[in-house]
């Protein structure tokens, strides 16, 4: 018990948590931007852009994240953390795009027609009429996707990025007894758990 909660171990795990948060929130911010663009492009339906984003979304959504993480690390000349962020952004963008598209589809078609009859352009309708309504429906699945992104940062342990899970595995190497191992993994699980439930609770509080 005493061996687990030493100052050194805690600082080491906190550093890991820091990297986890950096990866998670960069991924969330970047994939929110790219995902929205892709989702709107696919929603618009016509033209080569819609086709391309449809192919991108369908392909990326059906390949494991782990393959992107390992693939980016070994084929691109990026530092570990940047490579982790890049690969997770590629994957999460496709997920976000699908959520955005679903939200846009859920706004009824009459809204479009009403806006056009008032003289709005396509872009004007999108910004002023459709998106504000879609945001409400997007918010919940989007938040659970972001929780998934935080959980998925633990995949980066496989390319030796020093995030929480990998730091935990290193600290684990020092331990010999079963109590220490159980306490350590319980601690890691609790950190992830608190982080995610806090985010979910926060998203429930947001209202429009």
């Amino acid at each position: 018990m005493k061996m687990v909660f030493t100052y050194e171990n805690m600082i080491f795990l906190l550093r890991g948590l820091e990297i986890t948060l950096i990866i998670a929130f960069s991924t969330i911010a970047l994939s929110f931007i790219f995902g929205s663009i892709l989702g709107i492009a696919r929603f618009s339906g016509k033209g080569i852009l819609a086709k391309l984003s449809a192919i991108y979304i369908d392909t990326v959504r059906n390949i494991p994240l782990l393959l992107f993480i390992i693939g980016f690390r070994f084929t691109l000349p990026l530092p570990p953390v940047a490579s982790a962020i890049a690969s997770m952004t590629v994957f999460t963008s496709a997920m976000v795009a699908e959520i955005v598209r679903g939200g846009l589809h859920s706004v009824s078609h009459g809204q479009w027609e009403a806006a056009y009859s008032q003289g709005f352009s396509y872009v004007g309708t999108m910004i002023h009429i459709i998106l504000p309504q879609a945001v409400k429906k997007i918010l919940k699945p989007l938040m659970s996707q972001f929780v998934t992104a935080i959980k998925d940062t633990s995949f980066c342990a496989i390319i030796a990025v020093h995030e929480l899970m990998y730091s935990g595995m290193i600290v684990m190497g020092k331990f010999v007894t079963s109590t220490q191992a159980i306490i350590l993994y319980a601690l890691i699980a609790i950190i992830y758990f608190t982080l995610n439930t806090a985010l979910l609770k926060l998203s429930n509080k947001i209202k429009f």
Binding site: D58, T59, R61, N62, I63, P64, L65, L66, L67, I70, G71, F74, T75, V147, K151, D152, T153, S154, F155, A157, I158, M165, M169, M172, T177, S178, A181, I182, Y185, I188, A189, Y192, F193, N196, T197, L200
Partner: protein
């Protein structure tokens, strides 16, 4: 990445990839069966009025949905041996995947059961059926239709997540592709083939789910 000799080497050792692919399918199938049973049981408990089991089900769902699969599987693989319980990586993967996906599946089943109109229950009771009979004969067949598209999506997630076995040397497709590429540094071709193999499993499933969703919407 496009050098011809790398691809030649890859096709010469095709058996590595096929073996990995077979293990990925096997893990996914076993976990899918266990997942379905877990999510059925937990989903039905969540809709029942058994107080203590319900609280347990809630704990199970919140805990397993909010902690990473990697933590769960590494826990099974690294910590349980300390307690004298030793599973092979394959079994660890199956248990971890089933528990993790089961937590998501349970909410799918719960939502589907709640989507069946309440009157169906009452009608079944008025015919003299017990709770379990009503569930089995009346509610579940209707709920199954509603649950099929989201459950298919969970299956796709399950297959994708089975790549976590690579972290505990589980011998699945991802692990074999990674270690094959690690031996000769032909990363590009190996990962492209792996991606295509996963795509061939998941794409038909997610297209199937999309079509079902469209059908439900147009109705």
């Amino acid at each position: 990445m496009f050098a011809l000799f790398k691809w030649k080497a890859l096709f010469l050792s095709w058996d590595v990839f096929i073996l990995g692919f077979a293990i990925t399918i096997l893990v996914s199938l076993i976990s899918l069966i266990v997942t379905l049973s877990i999510s059925l049981i937990v989903g039905i408990i969540r809709c029942s009025n058994l107080k203590r089991s319900k609280r347990f089900a809630n704990w199970y769902i919140t805990f397993f949905q909010n902690t990473p699969l990697v933590v769960q599987i590494i826990f099974l693989y690294n910590v349980l041996p300390h307690l004298g319980i030793v599973f092979s990586p394959f079994i660890c993967g199956c248990i971890g995947l089933s528990l993790y996906t089961g937590a998501f599946g349970a909410t799918v089943i719960e939502a589907a059961i709640l989507a069946v109109p309440r009157g169906q229950f009452e009608a079944a009771y008025s015919q003299g059926m017990s709770y379990l009979q009503a569930m089995y004969h009346i509610i579940l067949p209707q709920a199954a239709k509603i649950a099929l598209p989201p459950m298919t999506n969970q299956t796709v997630n399950l297959i994708k997540n089975s790549s976590v076995l690579a972290m505990i040397a589980g011998g699945d497709l991802m692990y074999r592709a990674d270690s094959w590429a690690g031996e000769n540094l032909f990363y590009g071709p190996s990962f492209i083939i792996t991606g295509l193999l996963y795509l061939s499993l998941c794409l038909p499933l997610s297209k199937f789910a999309q079509n079902l969703e469209k059908k439900v919407k147009t109705k």
